[in-house]
Symmetry: C2
Subunit: 445 residues, 2 copies
Amino acid sequence: MNRESVLLTDLYQLTMLQAYYERGMNEVAVFEFFVRKLPEERNFLIAAGLEQVLEYLEQACFAADELQWLQHCGRFRGDFVGSLADWRFSGDVDALPEGTLVFPDEPLLRIIAPMREAQLVETRIINLLQFQSMVAAKAARCVLAAAGRTLVDFGLRRAHGAEAGLLSARASYLAGFTGTATVLAGMRWGIPLFGTMAHSYIQAHASETQAFENFARSQPGGTTLLIDTYDTEEAARKLVALMPKLAAPSIQAVRLDSGDLGEHARRVRAILDAGGLSEVRIFASGNLDEYRIRDLLQSGAPIDGFGVGTRMNTSADKPYLDCAYKLQEYAGSPRRKRSEGKATWPGRKQIRRAYGADGRMSGDLLTVASNSHEQDDLLIPAMRQGRRVKQSPALADIRARVCDGLARLPDPLRSLDPAPAYPVTVSQALHSLALAADRSASRQS
Amino acid sequence: MNRESVLLTDLYQLTMLQAYYERGMNEVAVFEFFVRKLPEERNFLIAAGLEQVLEYLEQACFAADELQWLQHCGRFRGDFVGSLADWRFSGDVDALPEGTLVFPDEPLLRIIAPMREAQLVETRIINLLQFQSMVAAKAARCVLAAAGRTLVDFGLRRAHGAEAGLLSARASYLAGFTGTATVLAGMRWGIPLFGTMAHSYIQAHASETQAFENFARSQPGGTTLLIDTYDTEEAARKLVALMPKLAAPSIQAVRLDSGDLGEHARRVRAILDAGGLSEVRIFASGNLDEYRIRDLLQSGAPIDGFGVGTRMNTSADKPYLDCAYKLQEYAGSPRRKRSEGKATWPGRKQIRRAYGADGRMSGDLLTVASNSHEQDDLLIPAMRQGRRVKQSPALADIRARVCDGLARLPDPLRSLDPAPAYPVTVSQALHSLALAADRSASRQS
């Protein structure tokens, strides 16, 4: 990422900072990011985006032109703006490693820092964690539906802006996609790249066969031809006629992008097989999501891979999560929001995950974090005093964690259909802490 | 925007470019961006994002490290990568001015450029135009529902990444929102900023009254207090008791963020009025969209302003558009895609809009663009030979265009409910061109 502005935040962060500054309030605050409730269409989420949060916290500061703008925007006092010149994040971060399966009320990340640091970063932390965790979960559902077939992220064009396109390539790859069409994601993270051709390429040629031939010759490493521009089955027959003229295996697959994908796949498979091209694979795209993939495969469509775009990248059936970054402790006292329908568990929390004899996950315990890190804690240290405690994990390791997690999910939760909630038990210690926080708040408020 | 990488594109753009390069194909191509079909939940769209498209086209080029990466990624030939070093966009752009109301099949933008320029920019053009046009339309529906009340974009945190947050602040402001909470949008574009306070601010204090007092004193220009952290009506009474201690008008509004917003608003209004605070306004937030705003106002809720976030910024009920950037002409011949369900109108097109005696829009004509620009053409020149033909319009002018457009919409289309489609007639000339393109394609394919 380019250096990003710390002014990519909500105005209230700065007005609160000014109010804290004026009262000298800057005790240690503990905030946690968590999801309150899963959408009905999701049985789990996948923690993702921590890497970008840590990058952000490491480099966040006010640039000279930003300070100048704040100084003159008419809302802030000079001494307060002056105090921002050396604002840095110097706090601690504990978090679920990326790729961990996560459920409602469970913190994905905890920030422990002086209030004026912990508050300002709220907006961007939510912005980064919700998006990738949401997309990773949506993509994982596609992975479950595709049952081992190739899945490629095709969604950059209809993602919500540049960063959404780039980060959804990353999130879907972490979740088990085979790769992406987004070139920059390949350059930046080494994510495998896939691409075919556009209808415009075919249309720019005098004949479809000529377009196929030119394209195949220009990609000697092998390629995929788009065959639905005019008549899908006719294009498959043209390919059968063309293939002997080309050096094998220059055409590895054909792509279907419109019409009844299952029916076209069956007919094209028959044409290719009859033409001796049984090694040419069939790739499908166009408005796909986990439901369409499941239905196509259940109908027996001979499709070997799927390009999944818009509906995955935007998490189209539920494009946001009911998530929050909430104050859990200030100046050593647990805090708890009690707004209607939005009450939260106070204090610093930890998650323990239990497994059955079959290796499947059997339930989580949400409890009060101990001071020392325990072997089976799911939240682990990521940053101390503003510095990372370890190197970023390889994407391959995160993918392996997701893969292991999905394999250990109880079967009903692996289904695309809504399942009974995964059991997350709140410990007695946490119940007691909530009661204590309520009593304390009643005295105060 | 920071300089962005031209590798924020789909791999197939580059593989197609290599294929064109090897065959020496680089005739003039004409592409148009349009929406095929409106979601059932939308009666119109608003063209937005042109400014960012022009910025992109002006600065797009391959950086040295990108060329090096392409050289070594194993997919491209050295001479082709070498040819990219001086790749620039040198073409023409015609477009709807931002803020123009637009309907299916109508081009928002036309690119006329050598094929290898016009093709490469496809992905980012779609990425920029679909998002802002979609958000502007969603925001305009909120504007119609709010009937003159204050509307503030609160959605950065759950927008899909940084750019989505920033551009949705812009798009919603263009559509008629009063302002945004996103500070960077204020600094970059001068969009008015609004902010209140977070629950954490209240919770960090020993008492709610103390939090209110500290905050109000720190914002002498006036502020909004969040009153639902513990007990909404109780907090309103605390404010009534506190107000005489503060210099007026330091507290301009209270914010409700949970529970039954309409019921709380009525009770809080009564408490404030009885306490002599009839000038303090009520601002509501929390899962709002155009439907909730309409319902709250229809129920008579005394709410003066709304913070609208997630559901607007993500266009949550329909987070993508069925849109395309299609080749309409190559080397002087009209082209047309005929894929099932995705056939398009060929050639360079123009839109003419008719108005009734009452000043309301009565129908559009989609026709073949003439060579010279006509007075009533909706698509107008934006760029010639890679350079802008005029300065960017002021945001205020774009807002005025939206405002005028919404006022001229026939009433059924202004409704939040699905209305019969706005009449877009395809001209005889365009029908003839499509027939000619089909005949020509039949001979070719």
